[in-house]
Symmetry: C2
Subunit: 308 residues, 2 copies
């Protein structure tokens, strides 16, 4: 039996939780929430101690803001730098997100060809069969993807995603200033590199985005470039847009209204430092400050989507 | 003390080993070399058993062909799909390569912004300092990088690389057919997206590539597109070129001569399946067939480089 597609699942989840807010977790072992007890004590290596502390931090942040969120976006680099223990912590933190009813978005920006793309698909989605038994994948609901290598680099990832009802977010226009170097370049037949990536998103998302009107191939569009949002939304009418860059990077939620054209699930607002370090501005307990800020951002996005 | 730069180290290594051949390792648990004893026996999980077998396979392949190679290129996806045990296997396999005097190239095609790029730099190069102690990185000599996100995504990786005398290989024109979708697109001010990426490689490589004439920022250019090689070499005169796609993907070593313009270390010929599965065509023991094929490819590349 084919599982429900990611677009339909996302739309249902957004509707049920009345939220488009995505908690971004990019844990830095040097900037974790203060814990009652040093969670790394007694670990046999620095990497294991750090990974244990990172996991404890992630669990506490998830617990604090889960009620206001629809998903958690894990920045894979921040776990990868802790080696094998970091990967175990990532898997456990993803479990914690699921236990709170949240979707899991792996922000890994992977992109490679044929057999390698299939290997990444196994890593982040459903796992692999080996002569040694079944090896589990991360079981993510969605993965961020870099499509510089073209359609044949994305297709194997999409196959792996669809097999478990998951989806992709293809980088179309990232939130950083350097994005201008390649993504904003104008092509001789019109449009920018971002437009060419948007066309790929529309093509791969297929003609049957499901009754929810949301496709299973979405796009990453930085909240820092609202001036591009109308054009890119028009180029990808059914794609869910993952919108990073609010807060620390200078983006503003109020400029993101065009994202929600296809419905409340048309835009997902990803906020990392703006939630986790809200207490540095607001004072008080980290968990309380994060929860309050999440409530505020959730309400702001929801009102923009005209969905209240 | 600043360690010697990657360009100088690479040139010295190529000269000392009289080889530009790079062993590509993208191990598939379903296609490992037959082992005397099932190496995964007794492991507590399928992932650990598979990772143990993958590591044993990598060690045997490295041992078989090391004398003819200058480096090992690890396809990180193939380890990542085995989760935490896969990361441990990657680190151990990299150690095995170093024990045989080979450079370690992490083929991970990473690309992300600011704090995330720094985290990837820590993962693949020198590690990180945490309140729990120093966490080791992979200690790679070079990392493949996707620069779709622009210069500010590459710079933090380059900083991390240079701190340990390592380098980068930026994707400029990949070996797959789908590369045409974005990389071959013509820009309105002339040149292709690949040319824009090549300009970035030249700029980042700096004006002081060292006395060896080889820069520490190189480029990935597929051996499948020799018709682009002359142009891209001219655009990046000092960049070492990592050339995948020989063999299984249809590329031919004899078409790669332009890569060696700056010297014997100007081109690195990466061969994966063509070595590991040479026995399927040639017959005999996998190790013998791989060694013979490595000797042949090494001699072919060396003669092309006019370095014999």
């Amino acid at each position: 039996m084919t599982p429900p597609g990611f677009g339909a699942r996302l739309a249902e989840q957004v509707s049920a939780r009345r939220s488009q807010l995505v908690l971004g977790l990019d844990p830095d072992p040097n900037r974790l929430w203060p814990a009652a007890a040093p969670p790394g004590e007694g670990a046999p290596s620095a990497a294991q101690a750090a990974a244990g502390a990172v996991l404890a931090h992630c669990r506490r942040v998830i617990e604090a803001v889960a009620e206001h969120c629809v998903a958690v976006k894990f920045q894979v680099a921040c776990f990868e730098r802790l080696g094998a223990p970091g990967w175990s912590a990532l898997a456990a933190a993803a479990d914690a997100a699921r236990e709170h009813g949240l979707l899991v978005i792996a922000d890994a920006k992977r992109g490679d060809i044929d057999v390698t793309a299939r290997a990444y698909g196994e890593a982040f989605f459903g796992g692999s069969e080996t002569p040694f038994g079944s090896v589990a994948g991360l079981g993510a609901d969605a993965l961020t993807v870099n499509a510089l290598l073209g359609e044949d680099s994305v297709a194997p990832l999409l196959d792996a995603a669809r097999a478990i009802g998951a989806g992709l977010f293809v980088l179309v226009r990232t939130s950083n200033p350097g994005a201008a170097l390649i993504q904003d370049r104008v092509l001789d037949d019109g449009g920018t590199v971002s437009d060419a990536l948007a066309a790929l998103v529309r093509e791969l998302g297929g003609s049957d985005p499901g009754q929810a009107g949301i496709a299973d191939v979405g796009a990453v569009v930085g909240a820092t470039v609202p001036e591009q949002l109308v054009r890119l939304r028009a180029a990808m009418p059914a794609a869910p847009l993952l919108l990073p860059g609010v807060g620390a990077q200078g983006g503003s939620i109020s400029a993101l209204a065009p994202a929600f054209a296809p419905g409340p699930a048309g835009g997902l607002v990803a906020v990392s430092r703006g939630l986790v370090y809200a207490f540095e501005k607001a004072g008080g307990e980290p968990a309380d400050a994060a929860r309050d800020e999440a409530a505020r951002l959730r309400a702001l996005a929801w009102s923009l989507a005209g969905a209240s």
